[in-house]
């Protein structure tokens, strides 16, 4: 049985990639960029659950302007996926976006496959515009062309957790972005 008192989620972090202060500053800058771009345009921030939740919470509070928010959840390819399976919307928008200026808020863009699907889905809803703000851009394994408008940080090819990002639904509550120890997921140290 695990000894809860001596187990810390920090123990599985090999390195802090982005500290709390660094993230706070950059998110503030992104917020100001969005305010400047969307002044008087009444944008709606659409966040993709669950990883983007922490980023959304901080980003919207850094935007001193009227904004509305909406949440979506998209199924992920995974262990239980059947060979004929296809991505589906688990939680759809709760309000129409026709004619609205949509800002998609993403925690991390890796392969870009989920976002690529989502952008096509949102385009069918007739928004006035769609832009993307992501905290972390990891371009090494990109398999879809994603026009990212606002990037917090471009990061190397490491398995990152924290600030909303998970491994097996854990570590989302870390206040920083850290690199997960390969031993946790049975991997080896990357060759740089």
């Amino acid at each position: 049985m695990t000894d809860v008192a001596t187990t810390s989620i920090h123990d599985d972090v090999s390195e802090i990639l982005l500290g709390e202060e660094e993230i706070r500053q950059r998110v503030g800058e992104l917020g100001r960029e969005l305010v400047e771009r969307y002044a008087d345009r009444d944008p709606v921030l659409v966040s993709v659950l669950k990883g983007s939740l922490v980023f959304l919470a901080d980003l919207m509070r850094s935007m001193e302007m009227p904004v509305s928010i909406d949440l979506m959840e998209v199924s992920s390819y995974g262990a239980g996926t059947e060979s004929s399976g296809q991505v589906r919307i688990i939680k759809d928008l709760s309000q129409p976006i026709e004619g609205r200026h949509v800002i998609v808020v993403e925690d991390i863009i890796d392969t870009g496959l989920t976002l690529n699907y989502l952008l096509k889905y949102l385009a069918d809803k007739g928004p006035a515009s769609v832009s993307i703000v992501c905290l972390l851009d990891k371009p090494a394994r990109r398999l879809a062309e994603i026009p990212i408008d606002h990037v917090g940080f471009t990061i190397p090819d490491r398995f990152v957790i924290g600030y909303g990002l998970d491994y097996d639904e854990r570590y989302r509550n870390l206040p920083y972005v850290g690199v997960l120890k390969p031993s946790v997921y049975g991997g080896a140290e990357p060759v740089e």
Partner: protein, 150 residues
């Protein structure tokens, strides 16, 4: 939404990792073609093609070829060499090489540990074009056209 697989029937994949990548692309509705093109990369002095590079996938929506190798990092020198020639001879063609570590990261991200184990077990079964051996004529990486009538 975009249609996914662009072949009438699933192709016979040379490696389990390729089949898995095809399933991922299908899942997210990304169109792909399996080994649709072969690029000659070395020739004999009389212009006979002796070595080719046939990337595993072509993604038409983003005009990108993807080559997947699940060989150990230390064993990918040959494939890297091919890719170098490919980029030199066909600079307008975009090719992304997915190494074993990239495939492993994808599988970990998607929780496909069983697939990862199966692929690792079946490792060492690279696919690709014929490579020159002893007795072959001297090779060049210049196509006949580039060498003029020589």
């Amino acid at each position: 939404m975009a249609t996914s697989v662009t072949t009438a029937r699933p192709p016979r994949f040379a490696h389990a990792s390729e089949a898995e990548l095809a399933r991922i692309l299908d899942y997210y509705g990304v169109a792909w073609h399996y080994e649709p093109d072969v690029f000659p990369i070395s020739w004999t002095s009389d212009g006979t093609v002796v070595e080719c590079f046939a990337p595993d996938f072509y993604l038409p929506e983003i005009d990108l070829y993807v080559e997947l190798t699940t060989l150990k990092q230390s064993l990918v020198r040959k494939k890297n060499r091919k890719l170098r020639w490919m980029r030199q001879l066909y600079p307008e063609v975009r090719v992304k090489l997915f190494y074993a570590r990239d495939f492993r990261a994808l599988m970990v991200k998607y929780g496909r540990h069983a697939v990862l184990s199966a692929v690792v077990e079946a490792n060492g079964a690279p696919n690709g074009a014929r490579t020159p051996g002893a007795g072959d004529p001297p090779l060049t990486h210049e196509p006949v056209a580039a060498r003029g009538a020589a």
